[in-house]
């Protein structure tokens, strides 16, 4: 009994990942053999999941993002300015300082371009930004799946009456008989612009791929690099190290997020692997 009280006092620490080594092992061993403590643990886990899943995804508005980008860019030019404004001293290092400032000023456009190119792309749509943030949060374990299944029909059915559009997931591998390159893992709802959107998680070679779907009345793809393929316009953005493709088709808007190489076209394999879809995949390959 004493043991149970002791363990229950540590459950919160355990659930918050604040226990290490032996202490963690002790809690896990006890939970595996004590039904009443395991029941309390399950209740607490459910409660915390409900709190974590309720989290509204806040995406900084594009205007704010642009302002912050300017603040950070001005920090860079400020440094170059400091080097430039230093008073000229008749010292041996003055030429070195001048040379360093010149090099910095020469590098400045390239470095600012790197910020714009490699960090969160300022022109990315809020839907693309939300999709990237959702992907990251799911990877960090902050957005657990609400339903887990490798069956596309089951996932499609789960979304019935939860979102105000029909989610029909492809079952390409089953129909084409190709080697199974990816796994459907499950789904959950995420909140965006006062609407529930569909989040579907895949995994390919141990790397996660996220597909976010909403009605095109809620979000339209925009910004980033535009790529035309099979009558559709794809918008490609690099956001926080992730590749994000957004597009609209038949009333729905999609965002596909991955950390795969080559502009994310590999993640399109989820739906379109196979020779007959080369005309779709080819334009998405790097130039």
């Amino acid at each position: 009994m004493q043991k149970c009280e002791d363990i229950r006092g540590r459950l919160t620490l355990y659930l918050d990942n604040e226990l290490q080594g032996d202490e963690r092992g002790m809690v896990e061993a006890h939970l595996s053999e004590c039904e009443s403590c395991a029941a309390i643990f399950a209740r607490e886990l459910n409660f915390l999941n409900a709190v974590r899943e309720s989290a509204a995804l806040h995406v900084a508005p594009p205007e704010l993002r642009a302002k912050v980008q300017r603040i950070l860019s001005e920090g860079v030019s400020g440094v170059a300015g400091v080097e430039e404004r230093r008073p000229r001293r008749a010292s041996r290092v003055s030429w070195l300082v001048a040379a360093a400032a010149a090099v910095l000023l020469l590098l400045l456009p390239l470095l600012v371009w790197r910020i714009v190119k490699q960090s969160s792309t300022p022109t990315a749509s809020s839907f693309a930004l939300m999709a990237a943030e959702t992907h990251l949060r799911h990877m960090r374990g902050q957005l657990p799946l609400e339903t887990e299944s490798a069956n596309p029909q089951e996932i499609s059915s789960w979304f019935l009456n939860k979102v105000n559009f029909s989610v029909k997931l492809p079952n390409y591998q089953e129909s084409s008989g190709q080697e199974k390159l990816y796994m459907l893992e499950g789904a959950r709802l995420v909140f965006f612009e006062k609407n529930y959107t569909a989040y579907v998680a895949y995994r390919m070679k141990e790397r996660p791929i996220s597909l976010v779907i909403t009605s095109d009345s809620v979000a339209r793809p925009s910004g980033g690099e535009e790529i035309q393929a099979r009558g559709l316009t794809f918008h490609y953005n690099a956001i926080d190290g992730l590749k994000v493709l957004t597009w609209s088709d038949r009333g729905l808007t999609y965002a596909l997020v991955s950390d795969l190489e080559e502009r994310g076209q590999q993640s399109c394999i989820v739906c379109h692997e196979g020779t007959k879809d080369r005309d779709l995949l080819e334009p998405l390959k790097p130039h």
């Binding site: 918050d16 607490e44 409660f47 995406v59 704010l64 603040i71 400020g78 709802l189 909140f191």
Partner: protein, 180 residues
């Protein structure tokens, strides 16, 4: 002073946290315009700071510390002192596992209800729920952001979750009565 390359890398790493900072700013201010101003103020302070953390270590919690200090500073200027301290000393601690038998039903509650409950929490409780359960900071990181001992983080978090359970179970009871 950092070199130009370090500053560029810092900018990239700092930009990655803008959504989290915006969410925290909304939790602090409850106002979109104020939240946007607070985010900008945070980045302005961060870029002018003399010492910056490594981009891949504790940058996020460092930015949160800056934001919280900026917010407290704004509150002081409005002559309305921050209301973050008194909650740790009041009343006995809620028995976090036993008091609410209805907690088992929480999974069935609508998300809006949980969100609304979080919004209804006192500032200090809402803040710590955001830091731990939404942003996933460790107790020690939260202690750094809030500038308090880790023990205070544990007790405040326990009270915040207890209050949240109580709110949700009360609402659920009311909903059940209505249904009957």
């Amino acid at each position: 002073m950092d070199g130009l390359v370090e500053i560029v890398e810092f900018g990239q790493a700092a930009m990655a946290h803008i959504d989290a900072l915006y969410g925290y700013a909304l939790a602090l201010t409850r106002n979109m315009t104020e939240a946007e101003d607070l985010v900008q103020e945070t980045y302005l302070r961060a870029t002018s700071a003399a010492h910056r953390p490594d981009a891949d270590s504790n940058l996020k919690s460092w930015l949160f510390v800056i934001m919280r200090n900026a917010w407290l500073n704004q509150l002081r200027h409005r002559n309305s002192g921050p209301k973050f301290v008194e909650l740790d000393t009041d009343g006995p601690r809620v028995d976090q596992f036993q008091e609410n038998p209805h907690v088992v039903y929480l999974r069935k509650l609508e998300r809006e209800q949980v969100q609304h409950a979080i919004e209804s929490l006192p500032d200090a409780y809402r803040e710590i729920i955001v830091l731990r359960d939404i942003e996933g900071f460790t107790y020690q990181e939260i202690a750094t952001v809030l500038d308090c001992p880790a023990g205070t983080v544990m007790s405040r978090l326990g009270r915040a979750r207890g209050k949240l359970r109580k709110l949700l179970s009360t609402w659920q009871d009311k909903a059940r009565v209505k249904a009957v």
